[in-house]
């Protein structure tokens, strides 16, 4: 079987200007942040970012001017860092367009794509102004219960990128701990990219196949970047680098350059 392993630069080249990109993880936890930074180094533009709970990733991409549109549920740095400042600025000054979701409505849109149906019903939403804002439709129960349900149109990312603990040479991927929304992202996107802490022999995956989150045939390319979820966590390998996040948030031009230069993928 051919190897899916490529360099970080090659992996990132699967993402083109204008693509819609679903990013795995949640807030500062197990995000594909090495790829996010590589997109900036590569000068990518006009990206659509899809994620239920982005933070650092969408903030740094907005800061670099790489984003056209955000489709997100809740956006913040989290930890004790509050709002995502460059994202906030980009929305407030209109540089980036926002499609605001509840996390579960974004998941519903991804499910519509994953399930191969034109829309996905979702519980709740009643009384929220998000429905009118996004022009979501409300349908009566066709089986006559008398209730109505909101339906979300498909969200089909061009690319899904996730950061995982382990990958095989063929691209099978697994995570230890919570999967966040990585599973549905990898089932709804046209192209799936995986960044891993390390590569392990396929015999280890064969020994515990139930731990595999994404089988190789769904994966287009994979690469290994130890520490690639920095400055966020990748349990159980490492936790949040709070000092690095603090340094990143310093509002001067040098801090982004310094941040990109001190990232693990730049150091190796």
């Amino acid at each position: 079987m051919t190897s899916k392993l490529v360099s970080l630069v090659e992996l990132t080249s699967h993402i083109q200007d204008g693509d819609s990109v679903a990013l795995g993880g949640s807030f500062l936890h197990r995000g594909p942040f090495a790829v996010v930074r590589e997109l900036i180094r590569a000068g990518r533009r006009d990206l659509e970012i899809i994620k239920q709970s982005p933070g650092y990733d969408i903030d740094v991409l907005c800061r670099a001017g790489s984003v056209r549109r955000a489709r997100a549920g809740i956006v913040a740095m989290e930890g004790n860092f509050g709002l995502a400042p460059w994202y906030r600025k980009a929305i407030e000054n209109g540089a980036v367009e926002l499609e605001e979701h509840a996390c579960a409505t974004l998941t519903a849109g991804l499910r519509a794509s994953a399930y191969g149906v034109p829309f996905q019903p979702i519980a709740g939403v009643h009384g929220s102004e998000l429905a009118a804002l996004n022009k979501w439709a409300e349908l009566p129960d066709p089986y006559g219960s008398g209730t109505t349900v909101w339906v979300i149109p498909p969200i089909r990312p061009d690319v899904a990128v996730i950061h995982v603990n382990e990958v095989t040479e063929q691209g099978d991927a697994r995570v230890f701990g919570t999967t966040h929304w990585d599973r549905i992202m990898t089932r709804s996107a046209r192209t799936v990219l995986v960044v891993a802490e390390r590569v392990v022999d396929e015999s280890e995956f064969r020994a515990r196949p139930e731990l595999t989150l994404v089988p190789h045939f769904l994966v287009d390319a994979a690469c290994v970047v130890p520490g690639g979820a920095w400055p966020g966590s990748c349990a159980p390998d490492y936790g949040i680098d709070y000092d690095a996040v603090r340094d990143y948030l310093v509002d001067d031009e040098d801090s982004l350059t310094a941040h990109l230069a001190t990232a693990p993928e730049s150091r190796s």
Partner: protein
């Protein structure tokens, strides 16, 4: 005790008091106060309940309370990884008894805004956004929220944007606890260090206070549990709450 009841302890303790025996309770992202409240309830109250969190933990036994309320530390000792799609689906089908959800503005009906200050299309402040609210508030059996300031700009007559509407049950601020009566939020109790008049003045919506009384001070057990969770006062300092 009541005069030096810190606003930080007031919010955490009163959120914890909404936890009920044998229920399924959830704390999410960006939610240090509910995380501490759930962990406090586990330590302080002599009953079982299921504590789910956004990190995927099911009754975890974290060695310490992490600064990020979605930190993988919150899966330490968990008996399962109950990930995001699972806990949202659980809530959607009516299986979540108590859900803690953040809010920037709350109105007298218990509706919330977590989207923006000002017009949505031209916001003065872009806030974090929808999050769990629009799906969880109407579908959880009870939701509780908290505000770190008690002011007419947080507790408003009219929301700048209705992000979510539905099953709000309780609201805790540094000086007051509101409970929903099916129609509107009514005052349940207020911080013994302030007066009822001050609560009225600092609330943007009208409310019924007929059955309200000063809040019961924290028990020894509650206070000890919170000290254990925030031994160096890091959460309390970061929160920077004032009465």
């Amino acid at each position: 005790m009541t005069d030096d009841w810190s606003p930080f302890s007031y919010v955490v303790t009163n959120l914890a008091r909404f936890v009920r025996p044998h229920e399924v309770t959830f704390s999410g992202v960006n939610s240090s106060f509910p995380m501490l409240a759930c962990l406090l309830a586990k330590k302080a109250y002599p009953f079982d309940f299921t504590y789910l969190n956004v990190a995927g933990g099911v009754d975890p036994e974290p060695p310490y309370a992490p600064l990020s309320s979605s930190d993988p530390v919150l899966t330490h000792g968990t008996r399962s990884i109950f990930a995001n799609e699972d806990f949202y689906d659980l809530c959607a089908r009516g299986g979540m008894d108590l859900c803690f959800l953040g809010a920037a503005q709350i109105d007298g009906y218990g509706q919330t805004n977590v989207s923006c200050i000002g017009d949505w299309h031209h916001p003065k402040v872009r806030l974090p956004g929808g999050g769990g609210a629009a799906v969880m508030l109407p579908t959880a059996r009870r939701c509780c929220t908290w505000r770190t300031e008690h002011s007419p700009r947080a507790l408003v007559e009219k929301l700048d944007f209705v992000t979510a509407s539905g099953g709000m049950h309780g609201v805790v601020t540094p000086i007051a606890v509101f409970v929903h009566d099916g129609e509107r939020l009514r005052l349940d109790s207020w911080h013994p260090a302030v007066t009822l008049e001050q609560v009225v003045e600092r609330t943007g919506f009208a409310f019924d206070a007929a059955t309200a009384a000063p809040t019961e001070p924290p028990t020894e057990v509650e206070a000890a549990a919170l000290r254990e969770l925030d031994p160096d006062g890091v959460f309390e300092r970061d929160a920077g709450l004032v009465l």
